[in-house]
Symmetry: C2
């Protein structure tokens, strides 16, 4: 699987190196999740949203762009959640495309949260949809969250996109929800949980995908709500960038995630979604100002907890 880059004159910068550059330049490991729910939008946008799907999609787009502007100085990436856009069909997809392009323009990395996973030509189509240039247009996102249940061959097209186009993936390993136990914590015959086995696969998949800073473009999702798993995940996947959701609304704190950072300041990213984008609900500020303030606060707290 040594696929040459499309254009040998333009060297491909590994996703993990782009993360490291951005973390060091901005001094933040915060990722802001864009989970735009119409029922939680600020009133000025919610009014628009009831006028049908095109208006609702326009409201989501305006909201997400406002959040991007507000958090851009404090976040290394945004993580748009595909589901909320898909719920508005084609109009929603157009909004997703607009938001991703806008965030890139604002100097943010874009991690599409799609949790995709399929096989053969279908997996290739997902890689094309999210991680590869689309004709004359740039790719939708810099990285994609992916579900490992279908195994190695479901990963191959994503890995090829990492190699060829400097994209990244974050593989679900141990998720932040209660139901994460049902399959991920089932105990294998060697006494380890299923998620630990998946971590081993992630390590293999990412082994020959190291950037110049020593981290791999094949990352892992490990819920910040499962602190005892974080240190073990770090040891099992020393070169994976660990994406930690669950801080904020889901109850985890920046201190819970400190153990993820032992491989370097850019070896983990911490996602907060609702607690940032809907901060205005607990504040007297304008929704943009409230999101910016909460992002700044969290970013500083995470930076301190990471200890670099």
């Amino acid at each position: 699987m040594t696929v040459p880059p499309d254009d040998a004159a333009a060297p491909v910068v590994a996703f993990s190196d782009r993360v490291a550059d951005a973390v060091e330049r901005k001094r933040t490991q915060l990722v802001v999740g864009l989970d735009p729910r119409i029922d939680l939008l600020p009133m000025e946008l919610r009014g628009e949203a009831v006028l049908g799907r095109p208006s609702a999609a326009a409201a989501l787009e305006r909201f997400c762009k406002g959040i991007v502007d507000a958090v851009a100085p404090y976040a290394v990436a945004v993580k748009p959640q595909a589901a909320f856009f898909e719920a508005l069909g084609a109009d929603g997809w157009a909004a997703l495309e607009a938001v991703c392009a806008y965030a890139s323009g604002a100097g943010l990395l874009v991690i599409a949260d799609g949790k995709r996973g399929d096989i053969g030509s279908t997996a290739r189509a997902y890689a094309a949809a999210f991680l590869e240039p689309r004709g004359s247009e740039p790719r939708l996102a810099d990285a994609l969250t992916v579900n490992p249940y279908l195994g190695s061959d479901s990963m191959d097209p994503f890995l090829a996109a990492c190699r060829r186009h400097g994209a990244g993936v974050f593989v679900l390993v141990r998720t932040s929800n209660r139901g994460g136990r049902d399959i991920q914590d089932a105990i294998l015959s060697d006494g380890t949980p299923v998620w630990r086995h998946v971590a081993g696969l992630v390590r293999e998949w990412g082994e020959d995908m190291l950037g110049e800073r020593g981290m791999s473009s094949v990352g892992a999702v490990v819920g910040a709500t499962v602190p005892r798993a974080i240190g073990e995940a770090r040891r099992a996947m020393p070169q994976a960038i660990i994406l930690l959701p669950g801080v904020g609304a889901q109850g985890a704190t920046p201190a819970d995630v400190a153990r993820a950072f032992t491989s370097g300041p850019a070896s983990a990213l911490v996602n907060a979604s609702r607690s940032v984008i809907y901060a205005y609900r607990e504040s007297d500020d304008d929704w943009r100002a409230a999101a910016g303030a909460e992002a700044a606060r969290l970013a500083a707290e995470i930076w301190a907890a990471a200890g670099w």
Copy 2:
């Protein structure tokens, strides 16, 4: 989780009963997978597709509608593969919506192959995107393929859609690809493979979702390429409709899947994609005629193998 239907005057017909009605009326258990790849389209459509994304999406739509017309008499459902539409962005999603509506109008059930899976409000958004009425418009699909790796709470919104709206889900249990081994065949401490554990969860999730014909609206995906798993899956999930991909281009035969039908003629559905929709490539017929002929041939062969 006893959610009343939206309108008590219009009783909700369980998805499994709608499958049973359609199977018996049409005497077929064939599902035709709509995997529209531009590079495999008939020449008359491929020309259109190179003119940019809107034209490419229009070509996919025309192709899929032509296939729907051709196979409607011989298939119980179509299974559009979301990835191939997403690869064309918002234009592709508009085409997916048009194809799903067209297939419903042609009397086919629609199983969206999205392999979605997420948690909390995100899972609810996926259920809304695929399985729930969208304002004044009907739902996109009758059923959705879902990935179980995130566990029970990731399933809840889909189960609610089954109950409230007569939708169905097909949970990935043992997939047809080589990499299916990597996680699904890992052996648990009780000596059984992970997929067998997932089958147990599917049985639980579907237990209180039985239709009048005794089958559940929570089905399972089991690859036809893994014949030894089919009988075991049938026993582990006696009331799940088993969706069997892998017949045709992936190498399995109708005889391989016979064991899935022991719970009744509508207790399993057999998917073929490329071997039907691209049948023209092995034929002198028009692409529609070739697809119709191959669908008719396969449907009869499966019906005979099912033995009802």
